[in-house]
């Protein structure tokens, strides 16, 4: 290749350690800021705003968010490795370290885009076949038959005010009139119009500030339904954790519409046989958590497993962790398992080994000259 080709020039510029220096500086500022902010707005919100974002708006000025900064650093590292690396034997430690860092960043990219995590809540004696995402919502159209829900779901990104949701398998369309991530329900003061049906006849909602504690947020939506029939078409209101779901009759079948955290179906069921929480004696401090479960397959076969703190269950590409325990007034015990699916899971392990080998080699090669007397 021509040594002054534009590609090479761009590549070499992008590989400069000075860029890394400035990027690191900015990243440190983001980190500090975001960490302090999470006291006020909660961990998840701080993460969304400072670390997972492309742009961080400082008043009206757009600045690179955490994701943008890390992408830039990855580019910088890639260019360094491809355009500006030295293969001198004394520098082999640095080379290996850089490769390890790239591996770590690569794993980070995979995790950022492909990881899903959520909670599987199951009572003793119950079997659950899905887990619910911690954060993402979905608008689900559900028809039930023989104990199986058939679902058409619209993902979080599409649930914005003004969006029109339709799908070939549904003879109706939903126009999102108002969507809010945290609402409170209040009784109507004014009378409902003819077009306002369902809960909207007596209630309305008001959007609230997002609660730093994720679990305390209740999302709500007001929408206009069109395409069914005169009696059912109209405006409706739904929200998370509705006691009585909003149902419609579609071509003779009953379909209910739910606003909920996204459901991830599993290819297996988790049957909770027993959950146990031990406390340190004489205190309220938890000492150990443990759930005895059956992993149930569609054909009915069951495999007994134990899930405890620091000892998760890995199966089918998922990892299930024991996170919470609950007991209600009736004495019914509930186990909450965190479920994670992450293709990028092994990258940190591999990269940490590589990075440490790299730094060690570098140290071994250079420490004598750095520490030796005069």
């Amino acid at each position: 290749m021509n040594s002054s080709s534009p590609l090479l020039r761009v590549g070499k510029t992008l590989a400069s350690p000075k860029l890394f220096f400035y990027a690191l500086f900015w990243l440190m500022i983001l980190l500090t800021w975001g960490t302090v902010a999470q006291k006020a707005i909660g961990l998840y919100q701080a993460q969304e705003r400072y670390f997972s974002s492309w742009i961080l708006w400082l008043w009206a000025i757009p600045t690179p968010g955490g994701r943008a900064t890390l992408t830039f650093i990855t580019m910088n590292l890639l260019c360094k490795l491809i355009f500006a690396s030295s293969y001198h034997p004394k520098k082999v430690g640095i080379l290996i370290t850089h490769l390890g860092a790239l591996c770590l960043l690569g794993g980070g990219v995979l995790t950022a885009y492909f990881m899903t995590e959520g909670a599987l809540v199951v009572k003793e004696g119950e079997t659950s076949w899905y887990y619910q995402d911690f954060h993402e919502h979905e608008l689900a159209f559900v028809g039930s038959k023989d104990g199986v829900d058939e679902v058409l779901a619209f993902s979080d990104e599409s649930l914005v005010t003004g969006a029109v949701l339709k799908h070939s398998s549904l003879p109706l369309q939903v126009e999102v009139l108002e969507m809010a991530n945290n609402i409170e329900i209040i009784r109507r003061q004014s009378a409902a119009t003819a077009g306002e049906k369902g809960m909207l006849k007596n209630f309305i909602f008001r959007s609230l500030a997002i609660n730093p504690e994720e679990t305390k947020n209740m999302a709500g939506m007001r929408f206009r339904l069109k395409g069914l029939d005169d009696e059912q078409d109209g405006q409706y209101m739904i929200f998370e954790f509705m006691e009585v779901p909003q149902t419609f009759s579609v071509d003779g079948r009953e379909v209910r519409i739910e606003l909920r955290k996204r459901i991830h179906p599993l290819a297996f069921g988790i049957e909770l046989l027993d959950v146990e929480r031990q406390l340190h004696p004489g205190t309220q401090m938890p000492r150990s958590f443990k759930s005895e479960v059956h992993v149930v397959r569609p054909d009915g076969s069951k495999l007994k497993q134990t899930i405890s703190m620091n000892r998760p269950l890995r199966t089918d590409g998922y990892t299930l962790f024991q996170t919470h325990y609950d007991i209600n007034e009736k004495g019914e015990e509930t186990s909450v398992l965190a479920v994670v699916e992450n293709v990028g899971r092994l990258f940190p392990y591999i990269s940490s080994i590589i990075i440490c080998i790299g730094i060690l080699i570098h140290l071994v090669l250079h420490i004598p000259s750095l520490i030796r007397r005069g």
């Binding site: 960490t35 998760p312 140290l363 250079h366 520490i371």
Partner: protein, 620 residues
């Protein structure tokens, strides 16, 4: 220093340590009894220290050791209620209780209790409030209330052994196997509880008119005993292991009597305790000690309790700090007179301090059965040790006193911080479920605290570089050496902090399913890694010159301090009056000083460097 003088010094030190080991003391009767508290079994000695710390902010009071104080409190409670044992330094609190403020901040239980009754109405209302909506003063009053209750109940824990009941009536006394006028304790009536019950039943069936002197005396006796039970069964002194198999909670003497029927084993243990109390009160130490050994053997469950008592009493960390202090004094004198000899002596004293320091850590590990760094307190002690160790190595290689200077400074500073944390309570506490994993404690936590230690040592080297660059800018060789040391240390620091941070992520992945959660603690550790990376890449790219690099190392200390302590403050919030507030203030002062030193050092040293020739350029 001649070897004879040196051996003499060592000998003196050892004597000081050993001196305590051989005399028989009253405290030995109770100090190594096992008590279950905070989820673990510990010696009564540790428990006494923690209780005294809570009341008096120190683990000794007026020359008396904690265990002596505790036993005395339980045996002679009334005397203690009027002794000014509580140390309270918040004037708003004292004001709120309507008590006169004392100059020495010391108050007696009785006056505090009276003060509490002044605010009794308000207290009730404050209890109902949500914890967050209470004002700091209300919060403090409520906590003091809890402390006073704890103190009172503790003081009454052994009241069943007090010989303060007397039956004058001859017949009644005989029926209870006593001599009239003989002083006896409540326990005696527990051992004769069936008889007492019969007597009371008979009494209730008698008509009032037919009651005679004996019955009157019985009524008085029963009234006295009922009054004793008003002590509300103090639950604190949990020195009796569970008698029923699966229950794991230990019980106190009063609770034991309330729960169980008088089986021979229970009676025997209670009677032994009575004997120990009697022995102490009458000065018959030997009898008391014999019974104490018998009691301990009967109860069993002695998980390294004796070792813990010795460890408490050896106060190894204090002694190690004294060594460091002595060493730095010697070093400073060596700058004026007899340089070589005193410098060597200083080095060896520091080494002794380091060994004692290390032994202390190993003992803790052994007693708790965990790796050395599982709490913030332990991390302080551990980083101190690592820092001194690195400086030890540095001194061995360089032999110019710098290592000794840095090591002793670091050792003294961190011990000092550690003591203020130790004053907060039991430093050997249990861990929450998620932290209780020896493998990760050994790998991640140890690695990252080592990283902190090395970074701080690098920070000290940075200080040294700036100092030298300001006052001896002509010493090119010296500057270059120190610079090289700094770079080397920063690389080692990078290794440990990076490895430690990644291990932390792997631990999180294993426990909760996500490698990185942008959690404050994780972010703090990452900040140190990023800072080190920044300095190193700044150096490589030419943006950062040696003076800048040195200043950067100094600023690294601030980042370590914030990641280490600041993160905890963020979580707890400054709402926690008192202790955390003082940490926050000290942290702010430390950061302020370091920033000032870094900036001033940088500016001044750069100026001096300009005047001299161009600074040394490092090649890799």
């Amino acid at each position: 220093m001649t070897s004879k003088n040196f051996s003499l010094m060592i000998g003196l030190f050892l004597l000081a340590f050993a001196g305590q080991l051989f005399a028989e003391k009253p405290s030995q009767v109770f100090e190594s009894l096992v008590i279950q508290e905070g989820g673990r079994l510990k010696p009564l000695d540790t428990y006494a220290r923690n209780q005294l710390l809570a009341v008096h902010q120190k683990s000794t009071i007026d020359g008396e050791s904690a265990i002596d104080w505790l036993i005395d409190l339980m045996l002679e409670p009334e005397l203690h209620y009027h002794r000014p044992e509580f140390k309270l330094r918040e004037p708003e609190l004292i004001d709120a209780l309507g008590i006169e403020i004392k100059k020495d901040s010391r108050y007696a239980f009785a006056e505090l209790r009276d003060g509490m009754s002044n605010v009794r109405e308000d207290l009730h209302a404050w209890f109902q409030k949500d914890a967050d909506s209470r004002s700091p003063v209300e919060d403090r009053v409520i906590r003091l209330y809890g402390l006073l209750t704890q103190y009172y109940q503790l003081s009454r824990s052994m009241s069943l052994f007090h010989r303060d009941i007397v039956i004058e009536h001859e017949d009644l006394a005989k029926d209870f196997k006593l001599k009239p006028g003989e002083k006896v304790s409540y326990l005696h009536f527990f051992t004769h509880s069936d008889q007492l019950r019969n007597e009371v039943t008979l009494l209730s069936q008698m008509k009032k008119e037919s009651r005679g002197e004996r019955e009157k005396a019985l009524v008085e006796l029963v009234a006295l005993l009922s009054e004793k039970i008003q002590d509300e069964m103090p639950p604190q002194l949990t020195i009796f292991p569970p008698l029923v198999g699966s229950e794991e909670e230990w019980v106190s003497p009063w609770v034991l009597m309330g729960k169980e029927k008088a089986t021979p084993l229970i009676l025997e243990r209670l009677v032994d305790l009575q004997g120990m109390v009697d022995g102490l009160k009458q000065g018959d130490l030997k009898a008391a000690l014999d019974l104490s050994n018998k009691f301990k053997e009967s109860v069993g469950f002695r998980p390294k309790v004796d070792m813990e008592v010795s460890n408490n009493q050896a106060d190894l960390f204090y002694r190690s700090m004294y060594c460091y202090i002595f060493s730095i004094i010697l070093l400073m004198v060596s700058w004026m007179v007899w340089p070589r000899g005193l410098r060597r002596a200083a080095f060896w004293i520091m080494t002794l301090g380091m060994v004692v320091h290390g032994v202390g850590i190993v003992l803790r590990m052994f007693i708790m059965g965990r790796p050395p760094v599982s709490t913030l307190y332990e991390s302080i002690i551990f980083v101190g040790f690592i820092g001194v160790l690195i400086c030890f190595i540095l001194e061995v290689v360089r032999r110019n006193g710098i290592g000794t200077f840095c090591g002793t400074t670091l050792g003294i500073l961190l011990h000092f911080i550690g003591f203020s944390y130790a004053a907060d309570g039991d430093t050997m506490g249990m861990l929450v479920a998620v932290l209780d994993s020896n493998f990760w404690l050994a790998t991640h936590v140890v690695t990252i605290t080592m990283g902190y230690g090395v970074t701080v040592v690098a920070g000290i080297v940075g200080h040294l570089y700036l100092f030298l660059a300001i006052f001896r800018p002509g010493d090119k060789k010296g500057l270059q050496e120190i610079y090289k040391n700094g770079v080397g240390l920063s690389l080692v620091a990078l290794l440990f902090t990076t490895l430690g941070t990644i291990l932390g992520g792997i631990w999180a992945d294993q426990s909760w399913g996500r490698f990185w959660g942008w959690d404050p603690k994780e972010n703090g550790a990452l900040l140190i890694v990023l800072w080190l990376l920044m300095l190193l890449h700044g150096r490589i790219s030419g943006l950062v010159k040696p003076v800048g690099f040195a200043a950067g190392l100094v600023l690294g200390n601030i980042i370590v301090a914030l990641a280490w302590f600041g993160v905890n403050l963020l979580a707890v919030g400054l709402h926690n009056y008192g202790f955390t507030e003082s940490i926050a203030i000290n942290l702010a002062i430390f950061c302020g000083i370091e920033t000032l030193l870094a900036l001033v050092g940088y500016a001044w040293a750069s100026k001096r460097a300009e005047v001299n020739l161009e600074s040394p350029k490092m090649t890799e």
